[in-house]
Symmetry: C2
Subunit: 141 residues, 2 copies
DNA sequence: GATCATTTTTAGGTATACCTAAATCTGGGT
DNA sequence: ACCCAGATTTAGGTATACCTAAAAATGATC
């Protein structure tokens, strides 16, 4: 499979830390589908970069910088996933595509999408817009 | 900078072929910001994979498979770029983000976005929706 | 048709993220 | 306290896309 990015490691470490108190090498390895030695190596790199604290044989926990990155990623992910679902993309696919987009979006575009999402969800005009889109799709087949 | 994908090579080869009849090593290298020897290496790989015909010292041209990939990429690119611009993202940013998204979108999501784009551009309801979104953004500041 | 500047390829090397196999650590059960 | 199973790290190796420097091919000019 594809090489994993810093951001993907941070996301799964964040998840495991919440679920299990800390992120262990083996659990990370399963989650992102690489072998444990590769995880050990990456954890050292992430520690060097200041995103995690890593203790041999014990696992990793996020530093404030790591937590900020995780928060940011979660926000980006939700923006894309919610938007895609509102536009009718199936849940699984929406999640999967959000997982890709979240790593590649610029701050400017993200902000625009966030506002558009708010428009669709929170304003009467936006909700009407979604309904009209639903009709449009039906007419199209 | 980042490693370039097959798709990025195909895109620039397609562009150069249209602009200059064929894609020369040096022109590809400038365009994607790598050195010529790296391009030679990738051209061999792309030929092996069936996307281009590569002649030493002469350059590359797309095979039917390569052209299909290029067409497909162009379509994906336009979908994202147009959609982002309609939502108010600046032209440069919209293009840059489209360049990223086009490589990571699933067929299902792409199809939904394409229909949504058609809705916005071609239906009265869609155009009303865009106007309402413009108002919404103004109110937001 | 020989020369020379430019372009391209060849040769050899780097960095990164991955792997397997073997060694080492850790914590629970006796 | 010891042992052992399971987890983790160490050691060493692979693949890929990149690089620089040097060699070779191209083609424009005389």
């Amino acid at each position: 499979m594809r090489k994993k990015t810093t951001e993907e490691y941070i996301e799964i470490i964040c998840l495991l830390e919440k679920q299990e108190g800390r992120a262990q090498t083996g659990r990370i390895a399963e989650a992102i589908d690489v072998k444990p030695p590769s995880v050990t190596e990456m954890l050292r790199k992430l520690e060097h970069e200041g995103f995690i604290v890593y203790e041999s044989y014990a696992g990793a926990t996020l530093t404030p910088a790591g937590e900020e990155m995780a928060r940011d990623l979660r926000k980006r992910h939700r923006t894309f996933a919610d938007l895609l679902e509102l536009l009718g993309v199936g849940g699984e696919t929406a999640e999967a595509d959000a997982c890709q987009f979240e790593h590649h979006v610029s701050p400017e575009t993200l902000e625009h999408l966030r506002v558009f999402l708010a428009f669709l969800k929170e304003s009467p005009d936006g909700r009407r817009c979604l309904e009209a889109f639903g009709e449009f799709r039906k007419r199209r087949g």
